[in-house]
Symmetry: C2
């Protein structure tokens, strides 16, 4: 007998995305969640947490470049960066590319995810041990509530708003993020699907406004393995408007920074391309 | 016994997207293909041709607005439009919204698709009987080869390049489209996934260049039920560059045209947001 092994995620009760599995590379359980890393035919290695696709080798550049570079190129000189979540290391890898950045505090809840990705997904986790990166295994919600540090950029690379990540989408969290940013600081968070989660996107926008951010901009892109594939990041800024960035300056800086997706046009395009109904 | 009915599309040999089915509304076979219309929980009514998702009520506005408005707003005064394919009628519906358009030739291979959509998907097919629309059931490849008519805008709303649609992605077709366009004409075609079909997108770009188009621009968006969700249209223009359109003028015209997704910012954004690797 010969079996085909497939991994299926129920993205809603009535929508299922299935990938054929080449190999199961890791399967484990931490105190927070179930962790799997599988190898697939279409997406290469895939990280799965609690039966939810998190990131894939094939398309991770879309997510990781778009959560990081629009903010890091909007700020003229980002030196200190806080990354909350993103245990696979992809976001940290993009931040490390910026020569202006002197230190990155990488706050991830689940050490087991980082360990698994360090072993099985080195393309993503390759910069976690960079001397500029200071890794802290703790709750990001608690961290921003308690720390007295200030950051130029805060990137919230969080899972869906269920379980321990729920608080990353609540009013209190955004107030603390505002507090932890310098006077010209910028934050970015993944904020789910503009097709399936419009209410959440609206709520986050309102919380950010109440927290004191003057500039709040959604950006859209495609993340193939997320529900509907249509995805959204929200950028909140105290001073700099990403739509007013100098494209020539970004182009100049990009001579030193390798990207696959992001360039000076994408910097503007992902904001402008946001559908009318979401604005 | 109680059964759950699901529809699954193998989007590749190793990637499957499944939707739970509320009801099967239509199932038939024409001389060209198998036709199904199902009602689903997440996407409303869905048109399926030869086991491939074509369009869904829930997200069809993304596809239909982006295949039509970027070209129709780039051209300052489109009067004559040719729509090839798009038997569901969604593209025709968007074209009809433009007051400048005087006549639309709607060339669709399969009359049975149009009949089924007229009966079961009136939200899309509602303008097919508009007096401005002249429907011809014939092969679009043959039509552009033989007609002596000239159009301001040609929209190629075609299925994947397999079976009878293969010729819609070949050199000869683009030469004929060029011939059928006025001196300042513009064409748009859906050109598959920027993740899975980069070679095809590159080939189409080259064919369009060889056909004589001076301005060729890819635009990107998300179509949730297509393979990878990451999707691409190619715009080819003889004279007008969509990136040089006057956004204020578009905004003014949009006071008379209802859209859900498209606006004057999206007009620019979808082109600028095209990933660096695709440019």
């Amino acid at each position: 007998m010969k079996f085909d092994l497939w991994y299926s995620e129920y993205q809603t009760k009535s929508l299922k995305l299935s990938t054929k599995v080449k190999d199961v590379l890791y399967t484990g359980k931490s105190e927070f969640q179930e962790i799997q890393i599988i190898d697939t035919y279409d997406f290469g290695k895939v990280l799965i947490l609690d039966n939810t696709y998190q990131t894939t080798e094939r398309d991770e550049f879309i997510y990781h470049e778009l959560i990081s570079h629009p903010a890091l190129f909007t700020h003229p000189n980002p030196k200190t960066v806080l990354v909350i979540g993103g245990g696979d290391g992809g976001t940290v890898r993009e931040v490390v590319k910026h020569p202006s950045v002197e230190s990155i505090d990488f706050v991830e809840l689940d050490e087991k995810v980082v360990e698994a990705c360090k072993e099985h997904m080195p393309k993503l986790s390759c910069e976690i041990d960079n001397p500029k990166v200071n890794t802290l295994f703790t709750d990001g919600i608690k961290y921003v509530a308690e720390t007295e540090k200030k950051y130029d950029v805060i990137l919230v690379d969080c899972p869906d708003p269920v379980g321990p990540a729920k608080g990353l989408f609540e009013e209190e969290f955004y107030k603390n993020v505002f507090k932890c940013l310098t006077d010209d600081g910028i934050m970015v968070q993944q904020t789910e699907s503009p097709l399936f989660n419009t209410d959440l996107i609206k709520d986050v926008g309102n919380y950010l406004k109440e927290a004191g951010f003057g500039i709040i901009k959604p950006l859209v892109c495609t993340i193939p393995t997320y529900p509907s594939g249509f995805w959204n990041f929200t950028v909140a800024s105290k001073k700099y408007n990403p739509l007013e960035s100098d494209r020539e300056e970004i182009k100049e800086k990009l001579k030193e920074i390798d990207t696959i997706y992001y360039d000076e046009d994408v910097h503007i395009g992902v904001f402008l391309a946001t559908p009318k109904y979401l604005k």
